[in-house]
Amino acid sequence: MDAESLLLSLELASGSGQGLSPDRRASLLTSLLLVKRDYRYDRVLFWGRILGLVADYYIAQGLSEDQLAPRKTLYSLNCTEWSLLPPATEEMVAQSSVVKGRFMGDPSYEYEHIELQKVNEGEKVFEEEVVIQIKEETRLVYVIDQIDKAVAIIPRGALFKTPFGPTHVNRTFEGLSLSEAKKLSSYFHFREPVELKNKTLLEKADLDPSLDFMDSLEHDVPKDGVSLLLPRLECNGTISAHRNLHLLGSGSWSIQMERGNALVVLRSLLWPGLTFYHAPRTRNYGYIYVGTGEKNMDLPFML
């Protein structure tokens, strides 16, 4: 959610119970302005909050003028002092993906991960236990990166690609219409496109190059509950029962009209805690993550 319209956004996103206490709100309003000034960001987004056992991480992101350029991520424990997180590297991803469980709330906390490594000593091959220390900060970078890639979304038309290449905020965006707001195809992943290049010419034919330059949500797995479920549920013998899942229109997103169609709310089921809101026919949209920072691997069972 935009730091500048934080209060309205919080109000709109409050249907999921994810709020901020008044003192946090006030300090965010103050400190994010300063972040914007000091780091010279074009736009500052309040990204959300990762709940730790001891303390919570408040996350903000700074955007440059090109909206799709790599985003800078900052975190804070008290909403006042912000520290910059390094960008996620391959090595970090590989390390952190093994850590499970809740965040502690202490950036210097170290998770211990025991790994079996094969050590060749002459002719014999030993299996040796190696303890790998992973800092929580590294894991934080990893999780934020994962969430951003998977479920950060914006409505179609909110950004547009200029002829010169960079992506800008679309001033003429006036919100989705009601019928569009109910479809997953009207929302895009807020990241560089991955799937788009794999599309056939036929699929690309209807796309507007200045608007449809990102991946839309409708192709997320599990698409309609069936494709991903089948191989995994075969052991359960409940396949036939799950075939009608797509009737629920679920997949990895729950889409709801709240306040009598005045607000559309998308909740990610893959990363429970991510809420996207958009008031149709207005420019108010945004997303916020409030959760434990754990991926819901049980999704196929839960649908």
Partner: protein, 713 residues
């Protein structure tokens, strides 16, 4: 002089100019002939001017035809200039010529004015109207020049200068658009003043050609570029966005889309906002004050006071903790709860929380009915049980030849009575405040046991089936009720000392178990320091009964019943679980004794504000049930749940293992058979029998011997 003439000019304009407006309008965007006239040397002959004018009019007439033909309704229009132009051209250069022309013009102009808006602008846009206006005013000035020429003023120089000045002054008042227009006029006429008269016409031709090209209608969309550009410019000037050049593509697209959408929507009734109105209508009922009159006022007040919780107050405290719904939604829920307490005989009511669903969410209210007013369902259940009994009896009646299935479904554990155990409270849910409240059915132990083994998203429809591996007995409303029971049992806590065990009431029925299951508010509760509540977990206690693995809060001894009926076979089969009474933590146990989840503490406590600790409240957060919160400011407390209704586990959900396969009957003497008797055996058998018979004969020596011998043969 200038002042005196200008009103006159205006009047003349209104007479003549009106008539000519249409004609002038057509000449709008191109070099005006009359203007250069003011630059012309004075010796220029009137005849020449009129000649030129007629030429220009002749020139323009095809243009007007071209323009009107855009609309397609130009049939009469195109013909009208034709008679006009010969007449003008043939007329002698006399002062009357313009007048004739003017007189001749009106019928044409009337028609053109009526046609042009339709033809030029398919949709009557503010743009086109305004530009028309601008053009017409502009040409009023220009026609000043005409008027002066045509009225043959003696001081040609003066009035012309005046008119020019006038025009200039007026133009200054007009906006940019027009200034550019007039400027371009002057630019175009610079060469005209310089020398030959052929040049302007060449220029004109080029310009006209360009314009004609711009006006070409696309056969595909029916638009032309000229109108489109002017629409775009108007939109830009109306809205004045910053950096318009950056978003010109979008503006162009918007203009085009607006053109189409308007046309197509004309016959459609816009009904897509209907659901909005529908829910607004329903929620309006919440805001209407209900006047309960006639009833004993004091009694009424008392009930309402007791029943309705102060939702807004707790919401305020939860907001300090960073939890809760938005202010307006909370208030709507508050009103919905008021509606609930007004329509049902409710003694105590509480806002339990909100459970998120895929399609809709559930708002849950926890209520306690007044004594003896909730007995509808008990009867239904009895009917069910009776039917079960009858079936089992019928089985026993038939005396069997073939063995029947000895398998009996595991002893169904009866559900707890309402007002006790897990059914202590009744839960009402609704999808949105304003929609009707639905009462959830009481929970059965089987449902709780199975609900522990599955993990499903709620859909938001109470009648949705729950499809899961251990088949869930019931639909979503039962699953929801089971999850509510589990969450309540796990996360409803209060500060130590707020509740105390009841004196007499509860113990009578539960004496067998020896535990106390009822509690009441402690009148002497003095409050606990907030800081103490934050620092140690032992200051918080559970005030909802623990649910045993049996699925009940109070132990149900299924073994006893079994022994009465079928003593002999069951004893060995019974699991130890059933023989020993299972005991969970008793009521009002501190939460510090809760089990850890793999090194993760089950609860987290916080102070709501570190900046102003003296007014902060203690916030308790469950890690086992993410979304369950409790606050206490020392005196007051409240519990609240918001989330998906699932338990936390650091590991992935694993489906329960399939039940063990039943072992076949062990091979033993009942299963195996001897070999068939052989000849030797039979002979030996016969010999043995004969021996026996012989012995018998010898003993008795009767006549029967012979008979028996016969038999053997």
């Amino acid at each position: 002089m200038e002042e005196s003439t200008s009103p006159k000019q205006e009047k003349e304009n209104q007479e003549l100019g009106e008539a000519r407006r249409s004609w002038d309008v057509k000449t709008a965007a191109s070099p005006q002939y009359s203007e250069p006239a003011s630059f012309e040397p004075l010796e220029a002959k009137q005849g020449l001017e009129t000649g030129r004018q007629s030429r220009s009019s002749r020139y323009w007439s095809p243009q007007s035809g071209a323009r009107t033909s855009l609309g397609g309704s130009a049939g009469p229009e195109t013909s009208s200039p034709a008679p006009l132009s010969p007449r003008e051209s043939s007329s002698t250069p006399s002062p009357l010529a313009p007048a004739i022309q003017d007189l001749g013009a009106p019928p044409q102009s009337d028609r053109t004015t009526s046609v042009i808006p339709e033809a030029g602008t398919p949709d009557p846009d503010p743009l086109e109207q305004s530009s028309d206006k601008r053009e017409s005013t502009h040409h009023t000035n220009q026609s000043d020049g005409n008027t002066f020429q045509q009225s043959q003023q003696p001081h040609l120089c003066g009035p012309r200068a005046v008119s020019y000045k006038n025009a200039n002054q007026k133009e200054l008042r007009f906006d940019v658009f027009q200034e550019e227009d007039s400027n371009s006029d002057y630019d175009l006429h610079q060469p005209a003043t310089g020398g030959s008269e052929v040049a302007p016409s060449m220029l004109e031709t080029t310009v006209q050609n360009a314009k004609a090209y711009l006006l070409k209608t696309s056969s595909k969309s029916g638009l032309n570029l000229y109108d489109h550009l002017s629409n775009m410019l108007t939109k830009i000037l109306d809205e004045r966005p910053e950096n318009a050049v950056d978003i010109i593509e979008n503006i162009s697209q918007d203009v085009k889309m607006a053109h189409f959408s308007k046309k197509f929507d004309a016959l459609q009734n816009e009904n897509e906002m209907l659901p909005t109105y529908e829910i607004a209508e329903k929620q309006k009922a919440l805001f209407l004050q209900v006047h309960l009159e006639g009833v004993d006022q004091e009694l009424e007040d008392e009930i309402v006071e007791n029943a309705l919780p102060n939702v807004m107050e707790s919401a305020f405290y939860f907001e300090q903790a960073g939890v809760g719904l938005g202010t307006d939604e909370t208030y709507r829920i508050f009103l919905a709860l008021k509606q609930l307490t007004d329509t049902h005989p409710i003694q105590r009511c509480r806002f339990w929380g909100k459970i998120l669903g895929l399609e809709m969410n559930y708002i849950v209210a926890e209520v306690e009915f007044r004594e003896g007013e909730d007995e509808e369902e008990v009867e239904e259940e009895d009917v069910d049980e009776e039917r079960d009994n009858r079936e089992s009896e019928a089985d026993e009646d038939e005396e069997d030849e073939l063995p029947k299935s000895l398998y009996k479904a595991p002893q169904a554990i009866p559900k707890e009575e309402s007002r006790t155990g897990a059914n202590k409270y009744v839960y009402f849910v609704c999808n949105e405040p304003g929609r009707p409240w639905v009462k959830l059915p009481p929970v059965t132990p089987a449902q709780i046991v199975i609900a522990r083994k599955i993990k499903k998203f709620f859909t938001g429809r109470l009648d949705a089936p729950i499809i899961s591996y251990p088949p869930f007995p019931g639909n979503e409303s039962n699953y929801l009720r089971a999850q509510i029971a589990r969450i309540s049992a796990g996360t409803h806590v209060s500060p130590l000392g707020f509740y105390q065990f009841g004196e007499e009431e509860g113990e009578e029925e539960e004496e067998v178990e020896g535990s106390q299951n009822s509690f009441e508010e402690n009148p002497d509760f003095e409050g606990i320091q907030v800081i103490d509540l934050v620092e140690t977990l032992s200051n918080w206690v559970h005030h909802v009964q623990h649910i045993l693995s049996q699925g009940r809060c109070n132990w149900f001894n299924s073994v006893q019943k079994n022994e009465e009926e079928e003593e002999e076979e069951d004893e060995e089969k019974e699991e130890p679980d059933y023989i020993e009474q299972e005991v969970g933590p008793p009521l009002l146990t501190p939460i510090s004794e809760d089990l850890e989840i793999q090194n993760i503490p089950p609860w987290t406590t916080r102070l709501s504000s570190n900046l102003i600790p003296q007014y902060a409240i203690a916030v308790l957060q469950s890690n086992l049930w993410p979304g369950a919160y409790a606050f206490s400011n020392g005196k007051k407390f409240e519990n609240f749940y918001i989330g998906w209704g699932h338990k936390y586990s650091p590991d992935n959900y694993t489906p329960p293992v399939p039940p063990p396969v039943y072992q076949e009957y062990p091979s033993g003497p009942e299963i195996t058979e001897m070999d068939d008797p052989g000849v030797e055996e039979e002979q030996a058998f016969r010999a043995a029998q004969e021996a026996v018979l012989l012995a018998a004969e010898e003993n008795e020596e009767t006549e029967e011997d012979e008979d028996e011998e016969d038999d053997y043969d």
